[in-house]
């Protein structure tokens, strides 16, 4: 059971402004049936002011609640005011959404943007996103690089999982997860940690990480590890003691040794076992 706020419960039970406006001035759409949620937003203008707004939504409780509260947030406001609304504003207005449901607030924001685009034209920056030459990262849910970038920026996302919760990117086949990680890395400029090291510095660092962090863990299980050689990003190691005869040795190497070296030293490191 999701931990929905009272406001979310109220809005999915009694959604406000349901329906369509036949003579709408602006219509915005986001999501798709295949992806599991979809929103159509209708806006009636009175000059620069939003006179009325209605919505139709296919989606879960939080998707309906996000759509419903969005109509309340924009009715009576000027277009210039609603341009600044972000997904975070929608979620905040609902008293928060579960992490895994943040993408519902993003859908609200996207439908609003889509509507406003018809007023301002494609090139004007609306909300958080510039539409120009955007590359699709997640083909399952059609999420672009800019969408991910801006979701990271607005919500301070730190991990791939968080990006998935907010944008759905990587939530289906998962093939784009490494690209998302790259976007995160670029955003936080963490790349330099690895690339700035000289080869000598890198060798010293690898030795230190193995000695101080990896070896003590393996010793606890009655084994150990020995650093044999380093060739570029290839690290050759030998497993000793019980580790050497363990049938999970390759898992230990990949999931433990390599993953620690990747996060601590360089994400391009590959660990090879010397027998």
């Amino acid at each position: 059971m999701w931990d929905y706020s009272e406001k979310v419960l109220d809005h999915y039970r009694n959604p406000r402004n349901v329906g369509k406006i036949d003579d709408a001035d602006l219509i915005g759409e986001a999501g798709s049936l295949a992806c599991g949620d979809s929103l159509k937003l209708f806006i009636k203008l009175d000059g620069e002011k939003i006179k009325d707004a209605k919505f139709l939504t296919f989606g879960c409780g939080s998707a309906v609640a996000s759509s419903s509260i969005l109509t309340e947030m924009i009715i009576g406001k000027t277009l210039d005011e609603v341009r600044k609304i972000t997904n975070k504003d929608i979620a905040d207005e609902l008293g928060g959404l579960p992490q895994e449901k943040m993408h519902c607030s993003v859908m609200g924001q996207e439908a609003l943007e889509d509507a406003l685009k018809k007023y301002y034209g494609d090139d004007v920056e609306i909300g958080f996103r510039k539409e120009s030459k955007d590359k699709v990262v997640c083909t399952c849910f059609n999420v672009t690089e800019n969408q991910i970038w801006e979701a990271i920026k607005i919500n301070g996302l730190k991990t791939v999982e968080e990006v998935t919760n907010y944008t759905k990117a990587g939530g289906a086949c998962g093939r784009c997860k490494s690209v998302i990680q790259d976007i995160l890395d670029t955003y936080y400029k963490k790349q330099e940690a690895g690339s700035k090291l000289t080869q000598t510095q890198k060798i010293l660092k690898i030795g230190k990480v193995i000695e101080q962090e990896i070896s003590p863990q393996l010793q606890k299980d009655g084994g150990d590890i020995e650093l044999i050689d380093i060739e570029g990003n290839k690290v050759f190691v030998k497993l000793i003691g019980v580790c050497s005869s363990c049938k999970n040795a390759s898992m230990t190497l990949k999931n433990f040794v390599e993953s620690i070296l990747k996060t601590k030293v360089d994400k391009n490191i590959v660990v090879e076992q010397v027998l």
Partner: protein
């Protein structure tokens, strides 16, 4: 409260609880101990093992092993078998297995095993020809669920056992019986099935206890090493109260199989037709007759499943959904996708699963409320043109 999610878990039968209580109170001795005080718990295990043997329709109590849950039973069968068939690196299973089985095979795939996943048709029925073709000399294990948890479809496991053994006698055939237990009769001694896993809480025993039937001819390594319990195949002091409870639950379930096949089936069919007749955008996801009698899975087109469940819950009705949103995984049910359910209904599929505690008035209530909910949610849907078309066709 109306509980129609019995494939997720069931209510503990009062009679089961009664059997359990002495071992949670005064009779706390370790059944392996030597003194008289340990006699009753040891006796309780014996009785439960006999009850579960009878439930399975197995020949010998030595073929019954107690575990902690259905997932443990599956892991014990799968890992135990593969450990004993070194050199054979091929496994066959289905696309619609429960995640506890599927993810175990994913694990072995990463370990260098080759795994074939057999398809199902739009009704959820297994492609037996494809299965037969895939069997090889180096197939260590074939693994097929007895009944599917989402659509209730029963697989002809007796026939599959013959296909497997006919083509490769050494290949082990594991059946995940979790969703069949208590719903349809099991007579493993009449079949060539090697192993069947079950889980107590699916047939009115508490959570935290399961069993594995292992044919005498099979060789297994233990999943949990340690003491001599369960003939050395599953170490750990026996969970006496829960095992005793599961034994009683098995006895009660066997006794009510006929009720399951008549009365529960009647109520399930009533619910099914009641909903389909009244709601134009409802479609039955599997209509085959060889389904467990308690399960129905209905798709509501252009409406989302979590939203339906939330509204059902507001009426006190518990059901479940193959919708992506309910699991948090963003992906709709792998079972419904394997069946090729159109995506217009995929996200709005609801499973109702009954039990012997389901009352006729419960079903009437759901039949009454369901159209109100779907009508409300259909009005919110952005796919009004598509819905209007559907209304005309069905109208």
């Amino acid at each position: 409260m109306i509980y129609l999610d019995n494939n997720a878990t069931t209510k503990v039968d009062e009679k089961v609880l009664e059997v359990m209580l002495p071992y949670l109170k005064g009779e706390y001795a370790n059944p392996s101990s030597m003194y008289d005080f340990a006699k009753k718990p040891a006796e309780a295990l014996k009785i439960a093992r006999e009850q579960v043997r009878d439930f399975y329709g197995a020949d010998d109590i030595k073929e019954i092993f107690f575990t902690s849950c259905g997932s443990e039973s599956a892991n014990m069968a799968i890992k135990g078998t593969l450990n004993c068939s070194k050199g054979k690196k091929h496994i066959i299973t289905t696309k619609v297995e429960h995640p506890c089985v599927l993810n175990t095979y994913k694990f072995f795939e990463n370990q260098g095993y080759e795994v074939d996943y057999i398809s199902v048709n739009s009704q959820g029925e297994l492609d037996l020809e494809e299965l037969k073709e895939k069997i090889r000399k180096d197939t260590a294990l074939v693994s097929v669920m007895w009944a599917n948890n989402e659509n209730g479809v029963i697989n002809p496991v007796e026939e599959i056992a013959e296909i497997v053994k006919g083509k490769s006698p050494e290949t082990i055939f594991y059946v995940d019986g979790v969703q069949a237990a208590g719903k349809i009769p099991m007579r493993v001694n009449d079949t060539q099935i090697d192993m069947v896993g079950i889980s107590g809480h699916k047939f009115h025993a508490p959570k935290g206890v399961g069993a594995l039937y292992v044919n005498k001819k099979c060789r297994l390594t233990p999943l949990i090493n340690g003491g001599h319990q369960e003939r050395g195949l599953r170490a750990g002091t026996e969970n006496v109260p829960y095992i005793a409870g599961m034994g009683k639950a098995a006895e009660l379930a066997k006794a009510s199989l006929n009720y399951e096949d008549t009365e529960i089936k009647r109520l399930r069919d009533k619910l099914e037709t009641g909903i389909l007749k009244q709601i134009f955008n409802a479609r039955l996801n599997s209509s085959v007759s060889n389904r467990v009698p308690n399960t129905t899975n209905i798709g509501f087109e252009y409406v989302e499943g979590e939203l339906i469940l939330l509204h059902l819950s507001d009426y006190g009705i518990c059901a479940s959904s193959g919708s992506a949103c309910t699991s948090g995984s963003l992906e709709p049910s792998h079972v419904l996708r394997a069946m090729g359910i159109p995506f217009t209904a995929l996200h709005g599929s609801i499973r109702f699963s009954l039990s012997r505690f389901t009352k006729e008035k419960d079903i009437d209530f759901v039949i009454e409320k369901m159209p109100i909910i779907i009508d409300k949610l259909t009005k919110i849907s952005p796919f009004q043109d598509e819905l209007n078309k559907l209304r005309k066709i069905k109208g």
